[in-house]
Symmetry: C2
Subunit: 336 residues, 2 copies
């Protein structure tokens, strides 16, 4: 059972509902649509999908906007769709949730209501980076601007378990994002993280430089949320910028314009390849329930992939495997 926060994000609920229902049908997964009952029911009517046994509706009075301050908004709007969705997970009525909303608010609501797995320092936000060989996984993509080495060591295994269980990669490789490949290169945080990871029996490849992320040789790239967020945004922007620059250079050159037009199908295919909607949102790992956060601009395609992703994480018992893996390497925080 996956809860879907249909009210958050920049698109109308109808769009999110449409994508969620498609995923529900295709993957035989039950969903709970969370939001304004009237709006949801009328959307379901339009889709001729009322009364279906795999679709439940749970009412939520309020919505947290994309630009509201997370902590304040979650406190002031206990009946917002994201707060209700996270409570459904807390109460065991849903096993996972998808929200296309305010990343900060989803994080805060998840921490308030769902909470971390015992012994996990911080939840890690995953994002997928396009590479020449497919895609790699970067964790943390922005949930934790200030990190300690112990957090990063746990992120490494959140990523590793995700790559194995959800992406089906065998013996995925893990690297620390740093400013040089040598062991001695990095900042205090990455050097300490290196020290923790170097002796553990898994596929640790050491440091990876910014330049090499996109070769696709390292499956899981570990960094703090400040660096991760900046890398993700710079990458996203420079892809688009390259074409803007080329177009600037082309100017009024007729043949170059024709050339660009002829090559445009490839440009368009690339744009869809690097489209974050295709990746199913960003899983927030390490919580007592599985959360997937969509881009604010999520449409039906994004909602479809988001529900698919949340379902995969639940079905593959991600949390159970993660706990075993962290225990094996004695990486869980000791609770007194």
């Amino acid at each position: 059972m996956i809860a879907v926060d249909v009210m958050s994000g920049e698109r109308p609920p109808d769009v999110i509902i449409k994508g969620a229902i498609r995923a529900s049908q295709e993957f035989n997964v039950s969903i709970i649509l969370v939001g304004d009952e009237t709006v949801i029911n009328s959307a379901l009517k339009k889709l001729k999908y009322t009364g279906h046994k795999r679709v439940k509706v749970v009412h939520a009075d309020e919505v947290i906007g994309m630009h509201e301050k997370p902590t304040i908004a979650c406190k002031n709007k206990p009946n917002s769709s994201i707060m209700v969705s996270t409570r459904l997970v807390k109460d065991g009525k849903a096993h996972g949730l998808f929200s296309p909303g305010n990343t900060g608010a989803t994080l805060v609501a998840s921490l308030m209501n769902i909470g971390r797995i015992e012994g996990v320092y911080r939840p890690g936000l995953v994002t997928f980076v396009p590479t020449l060989k497919g895609s790699s996984l970067l964790i943390d993509a922005g949930a934790n601007p200030d990190c300690k080495a112990e957090y990063l060591a746990q992120f490494a295994f959140m990523g590793e378990v995700f790559a194995r269980k959800i992406q089906g990669k065998k013996n995925p490789s893990v690297g620390i994002l740093s400013i040089g490949e040598e062991k001695s290169k990095g900042n205090e945080l990455t050097l300490k993280t290196y020290d923790i990871l170097k002796d553990l029996d898994f596929n640790f490849v050491g440091n990876i430089e910014g330049y090499d992320i996109f070769n696709g040789d390292v499956d899981i790239i570990v960094c703090d949320g400040f660096v991760g967020n900046i890398v993700v945004k710079v990458t996203e922007r420079v892809f688009k910028l390259t074409f803007e620059f080329v177009w600037q250079e082309i100017g009024y050159h007729l043949f170059q314009r024709i050339g660009f037009a002829l090559a445009y199908p490839a440009v368009k295919k690339l744009t869809s390849k690097i489209d974050p909607r295709e990746y199913g949102g960003a899983p927030l790992l390490g919580l007592n329930g599985n959360v997937v956060i969509g881009h604010g601009a999520s449409d039906d395609v994004a909602a479809y992939h988001g529900v698919r992703m949340a379902n995969l994480i639940v079905k593959n018992k991600f949390n159970e495997v993660l706990i075993k893996r962290l225990d094996r390497f004695k990486l869980r925080k000791k609770v007194a």
Copy 2:
């Protein structure tokens, strides 16, 4: 008088010498070529440029390679071209230097021999980021992986003075690279830096996100050297990657191939626009003498621009202006 370390880097000294001499001629600047005397003299003979009064030669026995460990190499090779070059600056025989070498070794040699301006915490390495409006300046691009807010506050003014005096920008804007525009967004380091800069009377625009670096609205982007290095490398890589991806997508589609070929002049022009050689290397600011570090792959064009840049910094009395600016805002470290 600019010292030029002609031995470092990946290209033969002849190439560096050629570029340095061109700059010397064009800008009427005296240069000291530092390296193996025999090699330099034979290169000068080939260029028919022996005995010219604007060109001196200073012999250096050794070279530090691109992959040697900076601290060890500088200790073990006191007569390497970079150590000799920095000593020329220390002794007042040169006012600035250009080296296309090992960035770490240049940094270490500069700190050992030239030293920091009194009251400057750390030298800041500058790089130039291509934007839709030209280029912006990013500082620190990698000299200091771990920074304090006081360092970043000084970097802000190194960048600001550079933009005003060397790039001729009027009232250049300064932003802190962060993970959200709001004042409250960031990590501990950027939040503290914000607190220092917010009350000072200069063109401070607050935080700037990774996504917005390339719009060209902010002239100086301030960050720690760990983040800066990663941003620079990701940017450089993604520009090239975009074309590799497009080419991958094009595959055997004939018309798209023709299109790419027709548009290629624009691609090539863009490649040269984002070519780090054109920027004249990376100035290392805050030292008691002006240092410009070239890319390891620097050729004659890069050496030409490197000498041009070092000369501009010297001629415009960068250090004097920087000291005044730091004093005005009471940002120099107090010395007991």
